[in-house]
C-alpha cells in the first residue's frame, strides 16, 4: 500500500514536471516567434443577456437597430433577419404598426409579376432586411476588395480563444459572451498606429482585430453621430449618452439578439428544467436508497 501511494505520487509528479517543462518551452518560443493576434485581448463588458437569468433590454435593442440601420447597413447585410422579427417580444419589441411602417420604407426586388416583369414593391414584415449590395462581388468591389461580412450571426461566429485554464472556469461562470466582447472591443478599439508602423493602403490600425493588426473597416462610429430616437422626446429621464461606447454596447446587444433570437426563452426554460431535474434526482436518490436499504452492496 505504501509503495503504491509512493509510486502514484511519483507518477503524478513526473506528469506535472513534464507539463511544466514543455509549457515553459512554448512560452519562450511565443516571445520570439511571430506576433499572435489579437494584440490585445477583448474587454469584458457587463451585458444584460449574460448569466443564467440573462435578458434583452428592448429599448437597447431598438437603439442598436438604429445604429445598424444608420451606420452598419450601408456596407453590411443581415440576411437572416426579417422585419417581422423586430416585433419579437423578447427582442426589440417594436409594435406591429412600427414594423409595418418600417418595412414599407424599403423597396424590395420581387417578381416576376403577371406580365413576367421583375418589379420593386414596398417591403412587408415577412421580408428579410435588404442587403446593401446586389452580391458578394459588388460588396467587395465597393470596399477596397474586403467583403463586409453578413452580420446575422456575427455575435456567435467571432471569439478570441480563451486558452487553458480559463475555458474550464468558463463552464462554471457561464461565460459565453466572447463574440459580443470581441465586437465591442473592436468597435471601440481603433487607435493611431504606433510610430514606425506602416499601414497598408486603406487599412486601419486596431489591436483588437483577430486576424492581424490592420483592418479594412474604417472606424465606423464617432460621438454624437446618431441622434437616438429615444432622446428626441420631452422626457429627459430616459436619455442615453450618444458616445462611441454607448453606440457599441447597443449595436452589439442588437447583434447578439439577431444571432440568438431565442436566447431569453432558452435561459428561462433552462432554469425550470434544472429545478425539475434537481427535484427529480433527489426523489430518485431516496427511492434508490429505499430499494437498496436491505441489500448490502
Amino acid at each position: 500500500m505504501m509503495r503504491a501511494t509512493k509510486l502514484s505520487g511519483l507518477a503524478l509528479a513526473a506528469i506535472a514536471a513534464f507539463a511544466f517543462v514543455f509549457s515553459a518551452a512554448f512560452a519562450a518560443e511565443e516571445e520570439g516567434g511571430p506576433a499572435h493576434y489579437p494584440l490585445k485581448h477583448p474587454h469584458h463588458v457587463d451585458w444584460t443577456f449574460s448569466g443564467p437569468f440573462g435578458n434583452f433590454d428592448p429599448q437597447q435593442l431598438q437603439r442598436g437597430f438604429q445604429v445598424y440601420r444608420e451606420v452598419c447597413s450601408s456596407c453590411h447585410s443581415m440576411d437572416l433577419v426579417a422585419f417581422r422579427n423586430l416585433a419579437s417580444e423578447r427582442g426589440p419589441h417594436f409594435t406591429e404598426a412600427e414594423v409595418k411602417a418600417l418595412a414599407a420604407e424599403y423597396d424590395i426586388a420581387d417578381g416576376p409579376d403577371d406580365e413576367g416583369e421583375m418589379i420593386e414593391r414596398p417591403g412587408i414584415p415577412a421580408d428579410r432586411l435588404p442587403a446593401p449590395f446586389a452580391n458578394k462581388n459588388a460588396a467587395a468591389a465597393s470596399n477596397g476588395g474586403a467583403y463586409p461580412p453578413d452580420l446575422s450571426l456575427v455575435a456567435k461566429s467571432r471569439g478570441v480563444e480563451r486558452g487553458f485554464p480559463t475555458f474550464v472556469f468558463d463552464i462554471f461562470t457561464q461565460y459565453q459572451e466572447g463574440g459580443p466582447d470581441y465586437i465591442f472591443s473592436l468597435l471601440t478599439g481603433y487607435e493611431d498606429a504606433p510610430a514606425g508602423k506602416e499601414l497598408r493602403d486603406g487599412m486601419n490600425y486596431n489591436p483588437f482585430f483577430i486576424a492581424g493588426d490592420q483592418i479594412a473597416m474604417a472606424p465606423p462610429l464617432s460621438d454624437d453621430q446618431i441622434d437616438y430616437a429615444q432622446n428626441q422626446d420631452e422626457d429627459t429621464a430616459n436619455d442615453v449618452p450618444q458616445t462611441i461606447d454607448q453606440y457599441s454596447r447597443d449595436v452589439v446587444s442588437f447583434l447578439m439578439w439577431a444571432a440568438e433570437p431565442h436566447l431569453v426563452v432558452r435561459k428561462s426554460m433552462g432554469f425550470n428544467v434544472i429545478i425539475f431535474l434537481i427535484v427529480f434526482a433527489s426523489l430518485l436518490y431516496y427511492t434508490k436508497k429505499k430499494v437498496w436499504a436491505s441489500t448490502p452492496h
Binding site: R3, A4, L7, S8, A11, I15, F18, A19, F22, S23, A25, F26, E29, G33, P52, L80, N85, P149, S152, L153, K156, S157, R158, G159, F164, D170, I171, Q174, Q176, G178, G179, A211, A259, P261, H262, R266, K267, M269, G270, F271, V273, I274, L277, I278, F280, A281, L284, Y285, T287, K288, V291, W292, T295, P296, H297
Partner: protein, 431 residues
C-alpha cells in the same frame, strides 16, 4: 436470455400467455430488464451503459425531427439550420440537444470505456462484448464526424476536407479513394449529400450493434468492481428494481449536466467558425475537429509522415480490439493490481493531454509533447499490458463477491469457502 439460462417469466393474464406462446417478446424483455441478475456490488461507474442507451435514443429522436426541417444541399444547408434555429418551433432546442447531445454521448462513452479498462471488463469471457463496444465507438466517431459536416459551416467544410484527405495517404489508390469519397474533385454538394445519408444510416447501425452488445452482456453477465465472477444467486440482485433505481438516479444526474450545457452553454463545445457559412476560398487559420476527436488528431499530427500519422491514428483505435489478448494478467480489477492501477491513471492523463495538444497548433513544444504522449499511448497497450500481467504481484482478492460485500458472516455458505472456479479466480499469487 438471463445469465443462468432459464426464464423466470410467468405470464399472469390470458393475453400474456397468448402472446408468449406465439412471440415471446414480453418474456425476452422481462428476462432482460426485470429478472436479469446483476452483481450487487456494482458502483456508479457501471451506470453509464444505461446512460449511453438513453443518449442514443435522444440523438435518434431529435435527429429524426431535425431531418424533417434540414435541407442537404451545399447552397441551402447552412440557412436551413438557421431556419431551424429561428423559425421552427423549439427548433433551437432540438438542434442544441442534438449537438450538445453528441458531446455528452462521447463524455459518457469515454467514462464507459475507461471503466472497462479499469475493472478489466474486457477479459475472458467478455472479449466479444468488448469488441462490439469498440465497433460501436468507431461507428460513433464516423457518425459524429459526418454529422458535424451537415451544418455546412467553415469548420464543417474544412474539417471534412482535412479528414477525407487523410485517405490520400493510402499508397497507389489514395487519390482515387478520396475522389470516390467526395463524389467529385473537392468536398462539395455530393459529399454533403452522401454524408447526410450515411449519418442517418449509421445511427441505426449503432442501434443494431448496441443490441448485440447488450445481448453479449446478458450472456456473460456483468463484470463487477472486484473482478471476481458471480458464484451464486445470493451475490446478485434482480435488475428491477435495484439497477433500475440506481441507473435512473445516475441518469438524471447526467441529464443535469446535459441540460446545463443545452440551456446555458450550448455553443461552448462548438467552434465559432461554424457559424460562418462554408467558403471553399477561405481557409480558417487553424482547423480543429470536435473536442472528442482531439486526442486522435494529436496522434495523427505527431507522426512526421502522412501515411504514418494515419496508420497511428487508426492504430490507436485498432489496438483497443486486441486489448483482451494484450493484457496477460489473470486478475481483472485494477483494485487488486497496484502497478496497473497507476499506469491506468497515467494513461488517462496522457489521453487528456493528447486532447489538449490536439487543439494546439502543430508547432514547437506541442509537437514534441504530442510525440511523447503518442509513444506512451502505444507503449501502454503494446508493451506494458503484456509485461505487467507477468511481473506484477496482485494484492489478495476476495474469494467471492459475497466475501467482499457481505463480510465474514456470510462467508460460510458459498463465500470464502467455496472453491474458486474459472480463470479469474486463479490462485492469488502472481498471474
Amino acid at each position: 436470455m438471463s445469465a443462468d439460462g432459464h426464464s423466470s417469466y410467468n405470464p399472469s393474464t390470458g393475453i400474456e400467455r397468448w402472446v408468449d406462446r406465439r412471440l415471446p417478446l414480453p418474456r425476452l424483455l422481462y428476462d432482460s430488464f426485470v429478472a436479469y441478475p446483476v452483481p450487487r456490488n456494482l458502483n456508479y461507474w457501471y451506470t453509464f451503459g444505461g446512460i449511453l442507451t438513453v443518449m442514443l435514443v435522444s440523438q435518434i429522436l431529435t435527429g429524426i425531427v431535425l431531418a424533417m426541417h434540414y435541407t442537404a444541399h451545399a447552397d441551402m444547408a447552412f440557412d436551413s439550420v438557421e431556419h431551424i434555429m429561428r423559425d421552427v418551433n423549439f427548433g433551437w432546442l432540438l438542434r442544441y440537444m442534438h449537438a450538445v447531445g453528441a458531446s455528452m454521448f462521447f463524455v459518457a462513452v469515454y467514462v464507459h470505456i475507461f471503466r472497462g479498462l479499469y475493472y478489466g471488463s474486457y477479459k475472458e469471457p467478455r472479449e466479444l462484448l468488448w469488441i462490439l463496444g469498440v465497433i460501436i465507438y468507431l461507428l460513433m466517431m464516423a457518425t459524429g464526424f459526418m454529422g458535424y459536416v451537415l451544418p455546412w459551416g467553415q469548420m464543417s467544410f474544412w474539417g471534412a476536407t482535412v479528414i477525407t484527405n487523410l485517405f490520400s495517404a493510402i499508397p497507389l489508390i489514395g487519390e482515387s479513394v478520396v475522389t470516390w469519397l467526395w463524389g467529385g474533385f473537392s468536398v462539395d454538394n455530393p459529399t454533403l449529400n452522401r454524408f447526410y445519408s450515411l449519418h442517418y444510416l449509421l445511427s441505426f447501425m449503432i442501434f443494431g450493434v448496441v443490441i448485440l452488445h447488450v445481448w453479449a452482456l446478458h450472456m456473460t453477465g456483468q463484470s463487477n468492481p472486484t473482478g471476481v465472477e458471480v458464484k451464486n444467486k445470493r451475490e446478485t440482485v434482480p435488475f428491477t428494481p435495484h439497477a433500475t433505481a440506481k441507473d435512473s438516479f445516475a441518469l438524471v444526474c447526467f441529464l443535469l449536466l446535459f441540460a446545463y450545457f443545452v440551456f446555458y452553454q450550448p455553443n461552448f463545445l462548438g467552434h465559432p467558425d461554424n457559424y460562418k457559412q462554408a467558403d471553399p476560398l477561405v481557409t480558417p487559420s487553424h482547423i480543429v475537429p470536435e473536442w472528442y476527436y482531439l486526442p486522435f488528431y494529436a496522434i495523427l499530427r505527431a507522426i512526421p509522415s502522412k501515411l504514418g500519422g494515419v496508420i497511428a491514428m487508426f492504430g490507436s483505435i485498432g489496438v483497443l480490439f486486441i486489448v483482451p489478448w494484450l493484457d496477460t494478467s489473470k486478475v481483472r480489477s485494477a483494485v487488486y493490481r497496484p502497478l496497473y492501477k497507476q499506469f491506468f491513471w497515467i494513461l488517462v492523463a496522457v489521453c487528456i493531454l493528447l486532447g489538449w495538444l490536439g487543439a494546439k497548433p502543430a508547432e514547437g513544444g506541442y509537437v514534441i509533447a504530442a510525440r511523447i504522449c503518442t509513444f506512451w499511448y502505444f507503449f501502454h497497450f503494446l508493451i506494458l499490458l503484456p509485461i505487467l500481467g507477468l511481473y506484477e504481484t496482485p494484492k489478495p482478492r476476495p474469494a467471492s463477491i459475497a466475501d467482499a460485500v457481505l463480510g465474514g458472516a456470510d462467508g460460510e455458505d458459498g463465500g470464502a469457502a467455496a472453491k474458486p472456479a474459472g480463470a479469474t479466480a486463479a490462485p492469488q499469487t502472481r498471474g
